[in-house]
């Protein structure tokens, strides 16, 4: 699967930093490396950067802890479930999760463009982003030891 993503700081507008308190997410992999922002499903505040209707915004990542909500209590949406119509009642819309790196089982892997996702709305009409997943390729499975992988845009791993 993919339990976290990283995006280059330079890709996010300053307004988002102020609005979503993103400063604390900034990190770097080395002295000469560009700063990045990490978004993990295990974070206290579970968020994901997404491109929705052409705008780069920050949405809540799935539904991790709200038992009262009708939304699926996960951060991922299986492509097979989506195609089978199991999410139809939530009227999911397609989004892009812009990411430069993904993280699974301690392995950071390169993401060229981003990954696919869906956005659904909860009872208060708040948007929640779910990462779309598919069965992992042999390569991805060897690399991360996970049997599912995100659906990457124009990229095969």
């Amino acid at each position: 699967m993919c339990k976290g993503i990283s995006i280059l700081k330079a890709r996010l507008k300053q307004e988002l930093f102020d609005q979503y308190e993103l400063e604390q997410r900034i990190t770097s992999r080395g002295a000469g490396a560009q700063p990045e922002l990490h978004f993990m499903y295990t974070d206290p505040v579970v968020q994901l950067p997404v491109i929705h209707d052409g705008q780069l915004v920050i949405y809540e990542w799935g539904n991790r802890g709200n038992k009262e909500s009708k939304l699926p209590r996960t951060g991922w949406c299986r492509l097979e479930s989506l195609k089978a119509g199991k999410w139809r009642w939530l009227s999911p819309e397609k989004i892009i999760i812009p990411a430069n790196f993904g993280l699974e089982k301690s392995v950071w892997f390169q993401i060229n463009e981003g990954m696919q996702g869906v956005v659904v709305h909860d009872e208060q009409e708040r948007p929640h982003a779910y990462m779309l997943t598919q069965p992992a390729s042999h390569y991805y499975q060897t690399m991360t030891r996970h049997e599912r992988m995100p659906i990457l845009i124009d990229q095969e791993i």
């Binding site: 992999r29 490396a33 560009q34």
Partner: protein, 395 residues
């Protein structure tokens, strides 16, 4: 004088050309199966990750490391761009390996090397180290010692001796561990020891190849620049089959795949072979290898596959052994045009297959026996293998 251009951590640098944000961070490029690190950045090396380490051992050592799937097509494209730039600077260039070239030059200044280095960085985006010296061996040694992104020139004996001093003999291309051990038994540990050793003794110990290196280290060029790939002594295709297996279908399918790759190479070089060798490496048994003579000189899939299938059960002994590596080797090579045709030869599908694959893509038409390799052919990028890059003089 001879120059040597060597790209710095080439695969990683190539990835940084198209993904500049990888600059400054620890990066590892993963091999054909996604398990092993085949190239790493200096940052990842500094963290203690060696080439060949499995990813699951590397991540605890370098938790901030980023891993990239190899893309040999891209690396080859950049390699050929590098080659073209070196060819602009010199009329005699050897395409030694995907990330290295040798060239002859009348200019032997730091400025010249720096200019060439800058040209490659600007036009290809890949940092290289350059060495210029009287011989190929010295040029390679000085470029290695100038890494990363340095230039070194040897003009005189003083500079040559300074380069050789305290440098282990294994730094010399052509002196592997076994030769180094034999040399060590006679007190020869450094390049300087090697260069100062008695020439006849070196020849006795390491044959002509060793003597050639001795001359080269002492500044006399004896190893020529090869502007065309030397004629093959044999052509081999193979490699790891991923996780070791004793599944007959899977091993059989890999043999078929490698025979297809071999036929592709023979067709490319317009050569045929008199015999085929199959080598299997096992995890729990010693390696085994056998040869089969062909009926006449052949380069077609049917004949080579038949030979390989004859060899497979004979090489795979005992049957319980787990195969993890294999080579299919064409030996007794001769030009296709000069071959003696066999009386039993029938019309071949190879031309049709070659034409379709040339037009539609590699392995579009392939043997049905490779169907069990879902993991290989289900992954679109798995069709390309590093050893299938043509024209290099090394390998």
């Amino acid at each position: 004088m001879i120059g040597h251009v060597d790209a710095d951590c080439f695969y990683v640098s190539a990835e940084r050309v198209r993904y500049p944000h990888l600059q400054g961070m620890p990066v590892g490029v993963l091999g054909n199966h996604g398990a092993c690190i085949i190239a790493k950045s200096y940052e990842m090396k500094a963290a203690g990750v060696p080439t060949g380490m499995p990813i699951w051992e590397a991540t605890p050592i370098c938790p901030k490391g980023v891993f990239v799937k190899r893309d040999f097509r891209w690396y080859e494209a950049l390699s050929r761009k590098m080659l073209a730039i070196v060819q602009e600077a010199s009329p005699r260039v050897e395409f030694y390996s995907i990330d290295e070239q040798f060239f002859t030059t009348t200019e032997h200044t730091q400025e010249f090397a720096g200019r060439l280095q800058g040209e490659i960085l600007q036009r290809v985006g890949v940092p290289v180290s350059i060495g210029i010296a009287p011989t190929k061996t010295l040029a390679k040694l000085i470029s290695d010692s100038s890494k990363p992104f340095g230039c070194g020139v040897i003009h005189n004996d003083r500079e040559r001796l300074a380069l050789l001093r305290d440098r282990p003999v294994t730094d010399i291309t052509g002196i592997a561990r076994r030769s180094a051990k034999r040399l060590a038994e006679h007190g020869i540990h450094t390049c300087e020891d090697f260069a100062n050793a008695d020439r006849a003794f070196v020849r006795w110990l390491l044959t002509k190849r060793g003597e050639d290196l001795w001359w080269e280290l002492n500044g006399t060029p004896v190893i020529p620049i090869l502007i065309a790939r030397p004629r093959h002594k044999f052509v081999s295709r193979g490699g790891s089959i991923g996780k070791a297996s004793c599944d007959p279908q899977r091993v059989h399918a890999f043999v078929v795949r490698n025979v297809e790759r071999l036929v592709e190479a023979l067709t490319h070089y317009r050569i045929c072979c008199d015999s085929l060798i199959l080598t299997l490496l096992f995890t729990n048994e010693p390696e085994r290898s056998l040869r089969s003579s062909l009926l006449g000189s052949r380069a077609d899939f049917e004949a080579l596959l038949e030979a390989a299938m004859y060899l497979l059960p004979r090489v795979w002994q005992p049957r319980s052994a787990y195969v993890h590596y294999m080579h299919v080797i064409a030996d007794g090579l001769r030009p296709l045009a000069n071959r003696q045709r066999s009386l039993f030869e029938q019309s071949q599908l190879v031309d049709i297959k070659h034409r379709i694959n040339n037009e539609m893509g590699r392995f579009v038409l392939r043997s049905g026996a490779t169907l069990p390799l879902v993991d290989v052919y289900g992954d679109a990028a798995n069709e390309y293998d590093i050893c299938d890059i043509y024209g290099k003089s090394c390998f």
